[in-house]
């Protein structure tokens, strides 16, 4: 195992409770930040660390913090995005469930840095028991003077509130989350204005993912430069990966972004290989909305280098031959999986979760779902594949929020890399009902470099 910053103490008995967490060295960063550091110094430290948003987009967190508007007399807010609903992603759930005080600690430090006296955790409604765990943790922190009025005699007041969502994926988008937090229908807002200027109740707001805020704790404890030394290039620190699908050891792993994808899938320390001696066919490396990659492009980039588990390497080659780190939901598909069915399942999810505000996403996702259903059930036509391509092309980039892109990318990537399998579904409908296409040539080495 590499460096562990977030999950190091997660197996300690009773770490869920304040006493044990404190005994194991918790809340040191709060003491350090509130007693020794100015808010600006914390933002500077986070900038130095090179921490990137862990929610999916990978935007530098320090930059985001420095954008927050600071008008006189207007309160500012920090909102923690715990609406983790992406299929295949469950890292925040693990973190919040087993080591909730780490998040609370990160939230206090970040609230101090941003000047937020009322901080919110927006948690998805399905995580009902985790909301209770967080509320218990907040009560414990409050009882021990880490929350409430005048924390550690520093003069800084902070309260954390847990807000339960009502089960909408779209509320994980930051402006939809803000609308929902305000008690309205969770429709994404049109940007600009950005939340950093007008967020919750038109006040400056920063929305960050759970993991991002938890990562602030080791940054303050050890310093931004020490954090930046872990990992490679612009992928600094550690990343939680929730691995699932056809692997021997599904679960949440903390990696330091220097290991290769091959090692991550096959080493016994992490996923432990594919069960029943099956072969790797494809993988969705960052949660359901990122492009799917066939085995040959997953393990090696188009240039022939080994692909590493980090932001740059996973997106090497753009969308032509690469994918994205996304939120870290690592879904592995073995040779028995049908890509058409997989794409259909994902599209059904996006159709169900589209908010219905802007027309390309509202109508396009439903249309794609119907076509994919037809293809999967052997009633498709050859023209359907091109039609799907055309629909996704017209959704992508033309919508208010990234859900349209997220719905278009999996379809685009599936057609780009697995067109043979789609065509087989059209030409051999009887066969397609009986069996799967199998591994085919998707793991064969690529001799000719892929363009792009």
């Amino acid at each position: 195992m590499g460096v562990q910053l977030l999950l190091e103490k997660v197996k300690v008995e009773g770490i869920r409770h304040y006493d044990v967490y404190r005994r194991e060295g918790g809340y040191r960063s709060v003491e350090k930040a509130l007693k020794q550091m100015s808010p600006e110094a914390i933002v500077e430290e986070v900038k130095k660390s090179g921490l990137r948003g862990r929610g999916g987009a990978g935007f530098p967190a320090g930059m985001k913090w420095s954008f927050i508007a600071k008008p006189e007399g207007v309160p500012r807010h920090l909102v923690c995005n715990a609406d983790e609903s992406e299929p295949g992603t469950f890292k925040d759930r693990y973190l919040m469930e087993f080591i909730p005080h780490l998040l609370i600690e990160g939230l206090i430090v970040s609230s101090y840095a941003l000047g937020s006296n009322d901080t919110y955790i927006y948690i998805r409604g399905e995580y009902a028991w985790i909301a209770d765990i967080l509320e218990t943790a907040i009560e414990e922190a409050k009882a021990n003077g880490m929350l409430g009025k005048n924390i550690l005699q520093s003069g800084f007041d902070c309260n954390i509130y847990v807000h339960r969502g009502a089960g909408a994926y779209i509320c994980g988008e930051e402006t939809a989350l803000i609308e929902s937090l305000e008690g309205k229908r969770g429709n994404p807002r049109i940007k600009p204005p950005f939340p950093a200027v007008q967020g919750v109740w038109m006040r400056p707001t920063v929305v960050n993912n759970v993991e991002t805020l938890a990562a602030v704790v080791p940054i303050i404890n050890d310093g931004g430069e020490a954090y930046a030394k872990i990992g490679v290039g612009k992928s600094t620190g550690t990343k939680l990966i929730s691995a699932c699908g056809n692997i021997n050891r599904p679960g949440v792993y903390e990696i330091d972004m220097t290991i290769s994808v091959e090692e991550f899938i096959y080493s016994d320390e992490y996923c432990g290989g594919i069960p029943n001696g099956k072969r790797l066919k494809a993988c969705i490396p960052g949660g359901s909305s990122v492009p799917i990659l066939p085995a040959n492009l997953l393990l090696k980039t188009a240039k022939g280098e080994a692909r590493l588990m980090n932001y740059e390497s996973l997106s090497d080659g753009g969308f032509v031959s690469g994918s994205m780190m996304g939120s870290g939901g690592f879904i592995v598909l073995d040779e028995d999986q049908c890509i058409v069915k997989n794409t259909y399942t994902l599209t059904r999810f996006y159709r169900h979760e589209s908010c219905g505000q802007c027309s390309p996403c509202r109508e396009g996702t439903g249309w794609m779902e119907k076509i994919l259903w037809r293809l999967e059930n052997g009633e498709g036509k050859e023209s359907d594949i091109d039609l799907l391509w055309d629909i996704q092309r017209r959704i992508e980039g033309n919508t208010i929020c990234p859900l349209g892109d997220a719905a278009a990318w999996p379809v685009a990537a599936a057609i780009r890399h697995f067109r043979d399998e789609f065509e087989w579904h059209v030409r051999e409908p009887q066969e397609a009902r009986k069996r799967n296409y199998g591994l085919a040539h998707y793991a064969d080495p690529i001799h000719v470099p892929v363009a792009g």
């Binding site: 049109i190 169900h352 027309s359 390309p360 509202r362 017209r394 980039g397």
Partner: protein
């Protein structure tokens, strides 16, 4: 207050100056003609409207004078404000036209296309949009989404099947009326406009949702199936109303008033009054005053020459800019390819004749005589 500096913006090679805070769409509407992007959800009189339908997408090829980088994505012109030195491409950008054709296709896949029995036909924004930007056929081969019809009170019928979820009526109900009782239920392609548990809408101004609806989803029950709009003669009229401005358009056939609507400008929006507020009308004016004697008639209303309503020869000044002027300016002096100039071969519909001044149905004789 000091005078606000004017910003320079170039839209489709036409440069103009607008005050700060103007959106690209408003700037383009100042030029008018084809350069103005179509808007299905934006309504300048309703706060927060716009940005949803994506028909007004434009390409920003130069962000501003300070930061000349082009914007990576197409932007919704109705919600993007102009920057100094911005260059925008609307009808000169193939990317925009392609995206717009896509949006039209998306809007139409679940639309019932029941124009022959729809009261909105003839004045429907979706009809105009699909005529200008749509394809002749559909690639959609599945069952279309349908809903049951609902009555929102005694005067308004909601036919959700036709709805394109522009949210205009939601904003109208929100901003004109005190209580929030009209909104959107569900999400995605099964989202529906509804009142809370099928309540009726009891508000004196709620009839305005009919006027803002770009399609035939919200219709006037006192006018349903009574007549086609192009058989009616629109007349400007007013009355002394205690609740509203009382300035309306009467839609007559002979002496009979078939329906009453607010006065709409060339963009299909309710006109502004002198003080800048919108000329919304109350339910009494709209639904109850259906006699000519209730109104003081000002005269025939100007109707866009391109509108099917003008086939009754009541066309006037609005929208009489010929398409060639703008087209030539946009395309570096290139003339549009016209199959023929109708005025050179036809004796009727000559542009110099003020059509609304002709009493009754017009004949070729009227054109030969001229306007005397």
């Amino acid at each position: 207050m000091s005078e606000q500096p004017l910003l320079t913006v170039t839209i489709d090679n036409i440069t103009l100056q607008v005050p700060a805070g103007t959106t690209i769409l408003q700037a383009a509407r100042k030029i008018g003609g084809e350069v103005a992007p179509p808007a299905m959800c934006y309504y300048s009189k309703l706060k927060e409207s716009g940005g949803k339908c994506r028909t007004c997408l434009v390409e920003v090829s130069k962000g501003s004078e300070k930061d000349p980088r082009p914007l990576p994505k197409l932007v919704a012109s109705c919600r993007t404000t102009v920057m100094d030195g911005m260059e925008v491409k609307n009808i000169t950008s193939p990317r925009v036209l392609d995206a717009r054709a896509g949006v039209v296709e998306f809007l139409l896949i679940n639309h019932p296309l029941d124009c022959p029995i729809c009261d909105q036909a003839g004045e429907c924004h979706l009809q105009d949009l699909s005529y200008e930007h749509g394809k002749e056929g559909t690639r959609y081969e599945f069952q279309r989404r349908t809903f049951k019809k609902h009555d929102l009170g005694p005067y308004i019928q909601l036919h959700m099947t036709r709805c394109i979820l522009c949210y205009r009526c939601v904003y109208t109900a929100d901003q004109l009326t005190a209580r929030r009782e009209h909104g959107v239920l569900d999400r995605g392609d099964h989202a529906e406009i509804a009142t809370h548990i099928e309540k009726s809408l009891e508000n004196n101004f709620i009839g305005n949702v009919i006027d803002v609806c770009p399609v035939g989803a919200l219709t006037d029950k006192t006018f349903r199936f009574k007549n086609r709009v192009w058989f009616l003669k629109p007349l400007n009229a007013h009355r002394d109303c205690p609740d509203c401005c009382g300035k309306v358009t009467l839609w007559n056939r002979g002496d009979e008033v078939y329906r009453v609507t607010a006065r709409k400008d060339e963009w299909g929006e309710v006109e502004s009054l002198e003080d800048g507020s919108a000329a919304w009308i109350c339910n009494t004016c709209r639904f109850d005053k259906k006699k000519t004697s209730d109104w003081v008639i000002e005269g025939p209303r100007d109707i866009n020459r391109h509108s099917v309503i003008s086939q009754g020869h009541y066309a006037g000044k609005i929208g009489t800019t010929t398409p060639t002027e703008i087209f030539t300016a946009v395309h570096d002096g290139r003339q549009p390819k016209l199959l023929m100039d109708i005025h050179s071969v036809s004796e009727v519909n000559r542009p110099e004749i003020e059509l609304s001044r002709i009493a009754g149905p017009s004949h070729s004789n009227d054109f030969q005589k001229g306007n005397e």
